[in-house]
Symmetry: C2
Subunit: 407 residues, 2 copies
């Protein structure tokens, strides 16, 4: 398996484009398009929020009903959530505008939006944007990068990656792009993700692979515990790699899932590290928990605790907060069996063991926590299951970004 | 029912004291004692955190086994959590030192600690503090106030209140004190609460009353979603008011519960308003929900959302975040039936109705949100249940208090 410095255009047969439609932002691209030259098997996972944006409602329906899709159009600036029937119509219009330029039926076009809730998508601007997207469509790495940039909100850089691997002698590629948390005019930490692949795989297994994958990747990150109305992850698989179609859960399926996990985890970590106001990536691994469910609850509880997040911001080895966050996670465990340590490029330091604090070097701990990527590891010593979650620290800038923007 | 500007010494037969034992802080009181002159029925509720501090473990056992207790001793500065058997022994020593000065068996003494996790309680200092507490014991309002101050950590002011009401011609009084969130050397937002009453009531009903009450009071507040290892609420009822003992759930029980709720809700709101770094109190009321459980989930989800909290800090009528937080609360509902408005001393403004944003005055909304007490109200229009939760905004100072203190 090989990581590539590419994005959604890495697999055979995919083009991407971006355009400045002026939906909300001035002087930057705010629409992106990803197109497969041939119909691609489609699967996706979406927000669990009861309040779902118009594009989310439509995508869920189409992906359920259809085997394939041809393209995904995305816009930033306006989330098209809580906009009622007007919003549904605007979303449909966006799909139709793209259907015209791609020359397919509109049900072959999936949609995604991110931005302010409760504002209406300007259909005229979207339609003009669609024409610009048509002219910009290209299969280059640059086109992928521009598309990844166009969906950014308060993200400080674009998020894309790709991986290639071999199946039955064929080179198969998976590419992906995502946007993380926050917006220039912030309202919601929306996650949008598009994965492309030329792998031949049945729609059922594609959906199963992506549904299983998010549990270990995107569902294991959190910037602020606020689940957006717009979270969408969609994958298009156009079968052009030439491998034998994956129709059962054998070795080939396993290899595909591994490669998919490589792309999704890379994107997920990029999102966590670029969380609103973040100065560092926080990775929490829980080992040897009694059940997988416990391991997940424990690791997510650590990375979502505001008190842990502020301690990491202050490079403070405040392990009591970590143990406390584990304690209220909902998982049952014996605290006296837990061993807790921190780790980064600067080394590692044990902080707690067998129910008691360990004498540790404050200086060394500080040095470890001052790095850009910081790990907190808990060995539960009560089973064999593990899980890793990713988050970021909580800084002044998080408050600034989310508290100040309209004052 | 009448509110009194008093605290735990308001009911007949209760004394309080505070002392500077030098456990961690310099130049301030850090131990508090509340004593009933006669054995008092005892009940309590404690943290659900798997990681429980030594005093919590002991109190739970004693309250389960015993009908009565005579006194509660509390210290600030050190939480005595994650301290193993050494911590349990230190906690027992604290109870024994107080038992000597009150002249009862040590199992009549309950204990509570708040402060840094993983540090050991200095028994010698606690024993000296116990002697100081003995000399300071008094039934005055001042003694209650000093006790309420001694348990403070990063609280900016003490939290106490009292209420009196009539039962069978007897004047019954309930007094209480609590500490909120944060510490001078912050580690954990621990909540400690002590309620005293001269009401005659059976232990079973006292426990039932306090267990039911916290669901509407202390369990409905949140500063940072971090459930402490030390949260403790204990109530002593010494029967000296002269009312007929409450042994069944009739009118008298109902009156007692109302008065109790008055004290606990007042303390709970004080705690929320004085949350770490808070500049205002945020009250979320959810009306006409399908079930009580839904109403609780929805209102708590609003006040715990970091995005809502930062918007309130910025006095920004960002209603999309409120609806989003409701959407991921776990409660099922139809967003299009919801009506949402904000309210404060400066008036009220509707922001969302029937699935659509309402045109509102940004200026008016800002004026409303600039007040010290801000209400967000959601009418679900899908049932008859309601709930109210209290929180606070998320400010730069929250990050400062919790991120900076050891750097």
């Amino acid at each position: 398996m090989k990581m590539l410095e590419k994005g959604v255009t890495a697999p055979i047969g995919f083009c991407a484009a971006s355009a400045a439609a002026g939906i909300k932002y001035e002087g930057r691209d705010d629409m992106a398009l990803v197109v497969s030259g041939v119909p691609a098997k489609v699967a996706g996972t979406f927000t669990q929020n009861v309040v779902k944006a118009a594009p989310v409602i439509r995508d869920i329906k189409l992906i359920k009903e259809q085997e394939t899709a041809r393209a995904i159009v995305l816009n930033s600036g306006i989330a098209n959530a809580c906009t009622g029937d007007v919003g549904k119509a605007a979303n449909e219009a966006m799909a139709e505008a793209i259907a015209k330029v791609v020359n397919v039926k509109s049900d072959q076009i999936l949609t995604a939006s991110t931005g302010v809730i409760g504002q209406h998508l300007p259909v005229d601007k979207v339609e003009k944007g669609a024409l610009l997207l048509k002219d910009a469509l290209d299969d280059t790495k640059e086109a992928a990068t521009k598309a990844a940039k166009a969906i950014m909100t308060t993200d400080t850089h674009e998020k894309q990656c790709a991986v290639e691997f071999e199946l039955d002698g064929a080179i198969v590629t998976i590419g992906g792009m995502a946007k993380g948390s926050g917006m220039i005019h912030p309202n919601m930490a929306t996650m949008l993700g598009v994965i492309t692949t030329d792998c031949a795989i049945s729609k059922e297994l594609l959906q199963e692979a992506i549904s299983a994958d998010v549990k270990e990747s995107f569902n294991m990150i959190s910037v602020d515990r606020d689940t957006s109305t717009n979270d969408s992850l969609m994958i298009l698989a156009n079968s052009l790699a030439g491998n034998e179609e994956i129709v059962e859960k054998g070795e080939a399926y396993k290899t595909f899932c591994e490669a998919l996990g490589c792309v999704t985890k890379t994107l997920a970590k990029m999102m966590a590290a670029d969380g609103e106001g973040a100065t560092k990536l926080l990775e929490a691994t829980v080992k040897n928990a009694a059940t997988k469910e416990d391991a997940v609850k424990l690791s997510k509880s650590i990375i979502t605790s505001n008190l842990v997040k502020t301690a990491i911001f202050g490079s403070d080895a405040n392990w009591g907060r970590v143990l406390c966050a584990m304690g209220y996670s909902g998982a049952k465990f014996n605290p006296e069996a837990v061993k807790l340590w921190i780790e980064s490029e600067a080394g590692s330091e044990v902080l707690f063991e067998k129910g008691l604090p360990v004498e540790f070097s404050e200086e060394k701990a500080k040095e470890i926590l001052l790095q850009k990527e910081v790990k907190v590891i808990a060995d539960m010593n009560q089973g064999e299951e593990s899980a890793t979650a990713w988050g970021c620290d909580l800084s002044y800038d998080y408050v600034k970004i989310n508290g100040d923007y309209r004052s």
